[in-house]
Subunit: 100 residues, 2 copies
Amino acid sequence: MKKNIYEKEAQIFKALSNPVRLEIIDFLADGERCVCEIVENLNYEQPHISKSLLKLKEAGLIKDRRDGLNVYYSLKISCLREFFNCLNNILDADNSDKYC
Amino acid sequence: MKKNIYEKEAQIFKALSNPVRLEIIDFLADGERCVCEIVENLNYEQPHISKSLLKLKEAGLIKDRRDGLNVYYSLKISCLREFFNCLNNILDADNSDKYC
DNA sequence: TTAATATATTCCAATTATGGCATATGTGAA
DNA sequence: TTCACATATGCCATAATTGGAATATATTAA
């Protein structure tokens, strides 16, 4: 059933529809980071970051790995770059007829 | 300011984070359609469709054109295909380590 | 065991999204 | 003008999301 696919896709987009979570994804673009590094660099409350990471993980966008006290997160998909390049085209060319 | 970009990107993802709106986008992939065609084919209430179209339009994802009584909508971006190809990879390979 | 540190979870109030129904607006024909 | 049709908007109750504060859990060291 196709409706089911739309539901799942919507879930993924929902995970991406928050500025803090997008900032986290951007930060992870350079490679694996532990939660403490994310908290330090992005300047949000640690529980806020942890909850954001959970949502991204549930959507299948990131993965985690524990090493001692630390939990390291990294991007699970690489095509996100294309996503965002396209997005930026949209944002840049707001008046154009058709972009990308 | 970069935070602003995350806000705008999040807005676009929010517009995409609903199954009905995704179904509409899919339907528009074949080309321009009037509201009545969308209502007939997708089987949702007309006000529901109209409101969904408004959200997509506000996000800059579709555009509209009136011709007499009808209003025709069409996709404003073409890279959405790549978006969804990537998405499908994510959905298909839920257990894989890294996709796309 | 206890303590210290890193991370996750729970609870909550405020905000925002959802979709149904009624109604308003816009356009063309008579 | 009035009517019929296509589309848009407003109102509303319900549901989901948000982020803060407190607390819980997990891991390691001592």
